[in-house]
Symmetry: C2
């Protein structure tokens, strides 16, 4: 039925191997005064820096953030990270990073494979609008644009120009079976075929506590996936084996972050074509010649099974019974074409369209054993429309779960199984308690509305980690963002989009590249899990006072980086 | 009657010459990793920097802000400024700055005396509270403290330690009779008895337009003065000739900023002892043996005349008929002691206390020729209380002017002559127009409530300049702040106070030292005057769109520095 049309220009611009290989960054539009480098001692410098800073390629790094060594703290099974910077007055060719195993005094090791350095890459970004938010259509010329460090690359060598700074992300995945202890390692940098003289020593103190594997994290992470963006960027026929193969590394990264929910589109274009790629219909609706309906679930089944195979198997969110345009597409056998109706929840036409599908879908889900984990999912619509839809759903099957990402409506708290409210709004304490006792997720989201905290490509990196701490403070079960990978036209080079602040639409990059934002989001989720475990043991007391500071208004007073550092240090002492 | 008690400890700590001479800064409580300096080229570096940055003494400056030269733009009669930085890996003794005259191609000059370099000095500051504001009692241990560059010193030499940064403020007062042109000059730095090799060239383009002298500025500036703090810090008997002599340089600086209002306290302690120094009674109230009242205006007259002599002569604000504690002090001849009553506006007791004074005061003001410029002044009290007070004032003399710094109350807009509302609130456009037609000042203020924009010692410097632009955008007549010089115990070294965010209580320093905040506030006022003049000529059109961005919410999206730079550049083109 409805087909995606790939731009030929894009097909020409991208080729499959290019996604995994090096690529050219855009030039920085800012005017730079090169004399600033005159004060830098000639040669190449290597220092640990801060994971809170997007280091500027054009300038030497802020001296206040530089250190010769780094000390990390981890539970067994935890991932920890920091950043180091190479800056140089002379050009460097074939720069590579040598890490290696970490060792404690007893001879225990964290293997070399657990340590991963990744070059930061620069992407074009813009800024908040004059009202302090990220919403609204935008023209590039109305906003200051600049290059920011965001993607973390998988390439093994890079060239660094004279008078440039190259940040490198350093990530250590402490295996769950590591013996507690202080593990020491070092970073060396090779350039132009030889080692640079500066060696960066670091250590990771591994505690006797164990962080569960991501699949066992309680944190309800819901980053919506777009299979259609992957098909476009990887140039694979949608739902072909090549498409699934292309998606696997991205979805594996997502599973490793503790993702719980599969994003399924059960109608065509549930979000009114707001993204670069339109979401297709995973359920094919066909109105037959005799007026009855046929529903083809083969794509839905393929997608859900695929996601189960990568370990994202806790929940299926089906969008949407209330698309923003109220257009419901289907194939008409009589007319032999794709068409649609427009129908409003609460009308007879709407009921007639949805009732048979919901009944059939329930039967299909039950047959697959998925009924209990499936939600009929909505995002913010007028409350009356949502109440109509819920009534209809329940009249078909009273056990159908419903999820909503939207405003807090007191009236819906007992109707919505997975309820996600906008950051800054919240359930009452009583509601949190009651919903938690029923095992119902109560989460929060950020989108273009929130100037901060957020995960735009220009957002301070610590704001991503802040999400987990905020959830711990407010007893949310998790966090939702509407776009894990709704890539824009040239996501590696330019994160801006026709609507919303740059980076709003994706957290990871083509070529299965992670980002500062995604890594620090995971940092916050790990922190949430640790707080949860310590609370269960009655040992989180010393943290609670500091945690109370994780309020959105507090971000006006103190940057997220300072807040996260303070509470992380307190956590490390427990 | 009520006397000030000077702390003997303070008398010992301060001596008169010390106020004008060098002094020792406090040590910075932050931990510093000195290795950051390893990347700085050995030796001493001199660059122009940005007036938007409080350069850190402990670290080399942000490279992104450094320039080899500076280009300023000025109207004739305007003061312009920038900052430069000296940073060094080796200690420097007796550092002095050599500036000199500026010359254009035709041989015209801006004389050397118009150019003034001033070393930035470091003062202890704290931070906003967890709610994002500056209000509330505070204990030092609950807040991060650090040293920040704020005061601009008048000393001519300074020592700079190894691995330290010393910012210097460079100010050029373009004489009103300067010929339009491009004037070039340079800055040289002398240390250890010889010139440093780096020379900083700069130029000031002087336009053919003329900025009026500060006394003719329309901008209604109202920074409240505390004569009592000057008496304490200079150890002079209050209202002695030495006291007046000590005050003159501070009040001259204030007049040069375009101050319009004399702050007079017509009762003892109108603000419930909230400041380090209690405001005394400039009018002495005596209840005589026969029950009648005597009012001694000699201090009031001395103060107002003194302020007239420095050119602050447009308005007198008399505080307060509604002190926060409703305590009214007086001398009782029968009891032969100082005492007080507590009386609420609207009560017979209150009326009986104030009616005779207001009648006598009106007569005195008329005799002095001051009646028309005197306001009975209030700051935010319950509206009912203010309405009672206004009714009483008007029943005594219907022409008495009233001023208020407080919330916007629609009901009071036609009653208050000089009405100052909290930043973020505003009059309607219609009210602005009507009040402007009557010549009534309609201003805004910031105090501890506003996390930003503000003039705390940790506030980004451009926020002070932002005030003038905001006034131009919203058609306010000016700006008010409640404390020009309510000095804390050791204002040169530590700007923190028992209440409010550090720096809330003063803008200038003992020894007639100005500050980044005060200089940039004047910058904004000058900009306001230029916009006003261009508007009158119908030439401000190209600015209006950019000016609209000067909204408080916009400061979440863009730092004040960027906003001010953008609009200043647009202004320079007109």
């Amino acid at each position: 039925m409805i087909k995606h049309v790939y731009s030929l220009a894009l097909l020409a611009a991208l080729s499959l191997p290019a996604l995994a290989q090096d690529y050219k960054e855009l030039p920085d539009p800012r005017r730079v005064d090169p004399v600033a480098w005159n004060a830098v001692k000639p040669g190449t410098h290597v220092y640990f820096g801060s994971a809170d800073i997007r280091y500027d390629k054009l300038y030497a790094p802020e001296a206040a953030s530089l250190r010769r060594s780094w000390e990390g703290h981890a539970w067994k099974g935890e991932r920890v990270h920091t950043q180091f910077v190479v800056f140089t007055t002379t050009p460097l060719q074939n720069v590579s990073i040598e890490t290696g195993a970490l060792r404690d005094a007893q001879g225990h090791t964290i293997p070399a494979t657990a340590v991963k350095p990744g070059f930061l890459r620069y992407v074009m970004t813009d800024e908040l609008n004059a009202e302090g938010g990220g919403c609204g259509h935008r023209k590039p010329q109305d906003f200051d644009s600049s290059l920011v460090a965001d993607a973390i690359d998988n390439i093994s060598t890079i060239n660094i120009g004279a008078r440039q700074t190259q940040p490198v992300w350093l990530s250590v995945r402490v295996p769950a079976n590591t013996a507690p202890g202080v593990y020491k390692g070092q970073v060396r940098v090779k350039a132009n075929g030889r080692y640079l003289p500066d060696v960066l020593p670091y250590q990771v103190t591994v505690s006797s506590r164990t962080l569960p594997a991501p699949k066992d994290w309680a944190f309800h992470l819901d980053l919506w996936q777009s299979p259609y963006a992957v098909a476009r960027v990887h140039q694979t026929p949608v739902w072909s084996q090549q498409h699934l193969d292309a998606m696997r590394p991205y979805m594996q990264m997502l599973a490793d972050a503790g993702q719980k929910v599969v994003t399924a589109s059960i109608i065509y274009d549930p979000w009114n074509s707001q993204t670069e790629d339109i979401y297709g219909d995973m359920v094919k609706w066909t109105k037959k010649k005799d007026g009855s309906w046929h529903y083809d679930y083969s794509v839905f089944d393929k997608w859900v099974s695929f996601m189960e195979s990568v370990g994202i198997d806790k929940q299926i969110a089906c969008y949407s019974m209330i698309p923003w345009n109220l257009k419901f597409y289907y194939h008409d056998e009589v007319a032999r074409r794709d068409t649609f109706i427009v129908a409003k929840p609460g009308t007879a036409e709407y009921d007639a369209h949805w009732r048979p599908m919901l009944a059939d879908f329930a039967k299909h889900l039950q047959a697959k054993g998925w009924f209990d984990k499936t939600c009929i999912a909505m995002d913010e619509r007028p409350m009356e429309a949502m109440q109509h839809a819920i009534k209809l759903i329940r009249s078909v099957n009273k056990d159908f779960k419903v999820s909503l990402a939207g405003l807090y409506h007191k009236e819906l708290v007992n109707d919505i199984y997975d309820y996600c409210v906008a950051a800054g709004s919240d359930f009452t304490k009583e509601e949190h308690r009651e919903r938690a006792e029923k095992g119902w997720p109560s989460t929060f989201y950020t989108c273009c509305t929130e100037g901060f905290p957020n995960t735009f490509t220009f957002s301070p990196p610590a704001e991503a980690a802040w999400m987990g701490w905020h959830a711990a403070n407010r007893n949310y079960s998790g966090y939702l963002r509407w776009a894990y990978n709704c890539w824009v036209k040239n996501p590696l080079q330019d994160s801006r989009f026709r609507t919303w602040a740059a980076g709003d639409t994706y957290l990871v990059y083509p070529g299965a590249r992670t980002s500062i934002r995604f890594e620090r989001l995971i940092e916050g989720i790990q922190a949430y899990e640790k707080v949860r475990i310590l609370r269960a043991e009655g040992k989180a007391g010393p943290l609670e006072g500091i945690l109370k500071k994780f309020e959105i208004n507090a971000l006006k007073a103190k940057p997220a980086g300072e807040m996260v550092t303070t509470v992380s240090e307190a956590l490390n002492k427990l």
